[in-house]
């Protein structure tokens, strides 16, 4: 056996070989995706803050926060239902895990519909990507970009919930997959905690 083969053999049995941080590779991949996506959202929100701070006539078009408050409540509640689903999957209770995953998906759908209704209301008032009746046109671009990016994540999450839920029930996916999807869903919830104050609450007309 050559020295090179000996070295390779030593490496293959080394205790250092394995996934980073002793975390399963799929879960680590999801965490790395979440970190990368955090940077994306943070960049969007920082640019938004930069524009808002640097623009004199920034609009404050929101009169009521009722819709946003309901949306926040629904999204937070969906995180709890996702937790229950993951816990059920861990305990091997397939029916319960499927049920709670579907409840989470339904809550996500309600959130997305309320979000679209919010958009429709603003569009009906004359707001587009490039202009609005209240001030600088940058507001529409930044508002639709940030909330649109979040809504895209929510819709992707809903599709993933439906797919993973059904496949978990059918035995093609296991509890690990449900848990990894749970990480993504909580992240979507987490981002909303920053979108609401920065995009909605700071632009509330008093």
């Amino acid at each position: 056996m050559s020295q090179a083969e000996l070295t390779m053999d030593e490496h293959s049995t080394s205790p250092m070989v394995g996934t980073a941080f002793s975390i399963p590779s799929k879960k680590l991949a999801m965490w790395l995706f979440i970190i990368a996506d955090t940077m994306t959202f943070a960049a969007c929100l920082v640019v938004y803050g930069f524009l808002r701070n640097g623009t004199a006539n920034w609009p404050r078009p929101f009169h009521s926060i009722t819709n946003v408050a309901i949306m926040t409540f629904i999204l937070l509640t969906s995180s709890l239902t996702m937790l229950i689903g993951v816990r059920s999957a861990r305990l091997g209770d397939k029916a319960s895990a499927f049920r709670w995953t579907m409840v989470t998906a339904v809550l996500g759908i309600v959130f997305a519909l309320l979000h679209i209704r919010e958009w429709q209301g603003l569009i009906a008032e004359g707001m587009t990507l490039f202009k609005n009746p209240w001030g600088t046109g940058l507001f529409g671009a930044s508002f639709f970009s940030i909330t649109g990016l979040h809504l895209t994540h929510v819709v992707s999450g809903i599709i993933a919930l439906l797919v993973v839920g059904v496949r978990y029930k059918g035995g093609r996916y296991n509890a690990d997959d449900v848990e990894i999807l749970g990480l993504y869903w909580h992240f979507v919830d987490l981002v909303w905690m920053f979108v609401v104050p920065l995009v909605y609450l700071l632009n509330l007309s008093h």
Binding site: T38, F50, S79, L80, E179
Partner: protein, 106 residues
């Protein structure tokens, strides 16, 4: 699956407590919006509350607290370092308002 899973044997009570805390903190953000504060003060307070909310969600809903300490440190240090690195431009945004060429301020 991981160390996080091994710590999930406790009941749902803790998750419910975290959920109620998150709801309360979200409500607090809405209350701040109706305070008579200038934009900077309002932003700082809302972001502070948002950071507490995010920490609770990451640590307990996403079970980062139950993962290996090395992974927790990696996620927190890396993420916070990059997020802080993004904050270098704020003074320049102020310059846009108080100076030329694109400001609308008279």
């Amino acid at each position: 699956m991981t160390t996080a899973v091994q710590h999930k044997s406790d009941g749902i009570g803790k998750d419910l407590v975290i959920y109620v805390c998150l709801l309360a903190l979200a409500g607090f953000q809405f209350l701040i919006a109706y305070q008579n504060l200038d934009s900077t003060q309002m932003l700082v307070r809302m972001l502070a509350v948002g950071c507490v909310e995010a920490s609770l969600a990451v640590m307990f809903f996403m079970h980062l607290w139950s993962e290996r300490r090395a992974f927790l440190v990696f996620v927190v240090v890396f993420t916070v370092a990059v997020l802080l690195g993004m904050q270098f431009g704020w003074t320049d945004s102020t310059r846009m308002v108080v100076g030329a060429p694109y400001s609308n301020v008279k």
